[in-house]
């Protein structure tokens, strides 16, 4: 049994671990380098890892020559609108499920859980019909409503686990101190639930930002398309697939994610831990 000194073992492990991690993010690194490579370098065989020259030409073209900015605006409205709606409804709902006891509560909780698992593809057809009947097709509003079908159960599940961690005595103390049940919710529960609400809001926003199928079915006009379908549309309608533009678009679509990661990462992992899996 040969003796490997501890420092060497740790060194090798770190090397191995970081190699694995770099391999995982390699596609993303490649995405970034492609987006800043000048067109000439793009189609080299064999392809080079690092650009010899860095250019932001593709970004400029993306923003000025394509409907990208329109798509961006739509995505922002969509993500923002969905998040606000879902958070308001889900916070009230989660509080009800956690702190009240009325007949039918468990059934509702079970139903929420069940819908968490529904395929969107099942709902998309009838929703299309519904929106068509209401004259809402091609509007971002219809997407916001449609998104609640998957965002709301998820948010409820997350918020439920966050809010059940708030000590019940706090609400009781507020009621004894003179607050009505509703006031106790505002004064005491909401501030305590704030970190959980932020986590849920982030998750919801990301879900809405990334969604594709509903946007594909419910929106047909370029003016209302969000980034997901808009960018894919750019791919399909162009005669030549402009990979540099697409990579630039991909990078830009991922920027909000990056921002969240850098500054708000703890909210994401907390949400994951709380809601994703209960051990």
């Amino acid at each position: 049994m040969h003796y490997i000194p501890r420092w060497l073992r740790r060194g090798l492990f770190n090397l191995f671990a970081w190699t694995v991690i770099l391999l995982i993010v390699l596609p993303l690194v490649w995405m970034i380098t492609t987006s800043i490579k000048p067109q000439s370098e793009l189609f080299l065989i064999p392809p080079a890892f690092f650009p010899e020259e860095v250019t932001f030409e593709h970004y400029r073209r993306l923003l000025t020559e394509t409907p990208f900015l329109t798509y961006l605006r739509n995505s922002v409205i969509l993500a923002g609108g969905t998040t606000v709606l879902v958070i308001v409804v889900a916070t009230l709902g989660a509080h009800s499920l956690v702190r009240f006891s009325y007949p039918g509560r468990e059934t509702i909780a079970g139903a929420v859980l069940f819908t968490y698992l529904l395929p969107s593809v099942v709902l998309v057809i009838p929703l299309y019909f519904l929106m068509a009947a209401l004259g809402l097709v091609n509007s971002l509003f219809s997407l916001v409503i449609a998104y609640t079908s998957f965002a709301l159960p998820f948010a409820l599940w997350l918020l439920r686990s966050f809010m059940s961690a708030i000590p019940p005595d706090l609400e009781a103390a507020a009621m004894v101190d003179g607050a009505s049940r509703f006031r106790a919710f505002i004064d005491v529960i909401l501030p305590q639930a704030a970190p959980g609400i932020i986590s849920t809001a982030l998750f919801t926003a990301i879900l809405a930002w990334n969604e594709y199928l509903f946007a594909l079915v419910l929106i047909n006009s370029d003016a209302s398309r969000p980034l997901t379908t808009g960018v894919m549309n750019m791919l399909v309608t162009s005669f030549n697939i402009e990979w540099s533009l697409l990579m630039a678009a991909s990078v830009m679509m991922s920027v909000p994610l990056l921002v969240v990661f850098v500054f708000l990462q703890k909210y994401l992992t907390r949400g994951f831990g709380a809601g994703a899996v209960k051990g």
């Binding site: 596609p27 698992l117 991909s250």
Partner: protein
């Protein structure tokens, strides 16, 4: 002597002074609780219950998508589907895809979780980086991987040729079995961080004392993994497998955007078939029937799985 305790046998509700005076406060409380959940129920009924019921209803009609007009056909849609090979082929593809990508997700996920559980340099940075594929938009993931898999310029082919594994560039998405394999792999890349986070969270709750006791009892690191870690992970893994299986089974975006179901229908899964019937073949009724069948299959698997997991 003792005071106050009267040994009357009284049944509740026979207090003549006021009939169950406590009820109204409790009732008001319940009403408030229901008021809080009312918006949720409203939204649910509108965007989940109603469409769900509609989907089942629509599956009994033959509907032409652009005009949305149709006529009653009863169970004919279902009969047609079950008789046609395409439905079964799609089902087989879906199962193949689900099992394949789930297995890889679990493997990668657990390995990386174990890795991240150790003390490593810049551990929190590592954890953030590992999460990226999961939160990335599927559109972005697909674009990037399609670029990577590009036969002429993609670095996947380049690196494999450079390291001598292959001589000629490979068509990763246009031929079988490559297309399914590529899909499975990309699916694993995108979704394995979910497994990482869930497993890591559980790993962090395993008390050190268990490992210490095992070490004292003579267990080496492999034995410690199988005898301490794995049993503790079992409950989490049961839930992860269920969730990921259901979500992988109903995955639409990734497969549609990567291969579109091709070549021909070699990678067409049930969700893709639903979309194709509805919007390419303009047969809403058949699409709904396919969706209903899909749901029944999912439900059956879920029930079987939960029953087995309970033992």
């Amino acid at each position: 002597m003792t005071q106050g305790y009267r040994n009357r046998s009284m049944t509740p509700g026979t207090n003549t002074q006021s009939a169950r005076p406590g009820r109204t406060l409790a009732a008001r409380d319940n009403l408030l609780g229901l008021a809080f959940i009312a918006p949720t129920i409203l939204v649910f009924c509108a965007v989940i219950v109603y469409p769900l019921v509609s989907a089942i209803y629509l599956s009994l009609f033959s509907i032409y998508t652009p005009t949305m007009e149709g006529e009653w056909v009863g169970l004919a849609n279902f009969q047609e589907l079950l008789a046609k090979g395409e439905f079964w082929r799609s089902l087989a593809n879906t199962l193949l895809w689900t099992v394949g990508t789930l297995t890889l997700q679990l493997l990668f996920g657990m390995l990386v979780a174990l890795m991240l559980h150790q003390n490593m340099l810049f551990r929190s940075l590592a954890r953030s980086l590992v999460l990226f594929p999961y939160f990335l938009s599927t559109v972005v993931a697909v674009l990037v991987w399609r670029w990577l898999f590009n036969d002429l310029y993609g670095i996947v082919n380049h690196m494999l040729m450079w390291s001598g594994f292959i001589d000629m560039p490979v068509d990763w998405l246009g031929r079988m079995p490559n297309a399914m394999l590529s899909l499975i792999f990309v699916g694993a890349w995108k979704y394995f961080p979910f497994v990482v986070i869930a497993v890591l969270a559980r790993l962090q709750t395993i008390p050190d004392e268990l490992y210490e006791a095992a070490t004292i009892d003579g267990a080496g690191s492999i034995a410690r993994f199988f005898d301490v870690t794995l049993p503790q992970l079992k409950s989490v893994l049961v839930v992860i497998v269920l969730l990921r299986a259901i979500w992988d089974f109903k995955e639409f975006d990734l497969i549609y955007l990567m291969t579109g179901g091709g070549p021909v229908i070699a990678t067409q899964t049930l969700p893709l078939m639903v979309y194709k019937e509805a919007f390419a073949l303009n047969r809403m009724g058949v699409a709904s029937a396919t969706a209903v069948l899909m749901m029944l299959i999912t439900l059956t698997f879920m029930i079987i799985y939960l029953r087995k997991a309970r033992d």
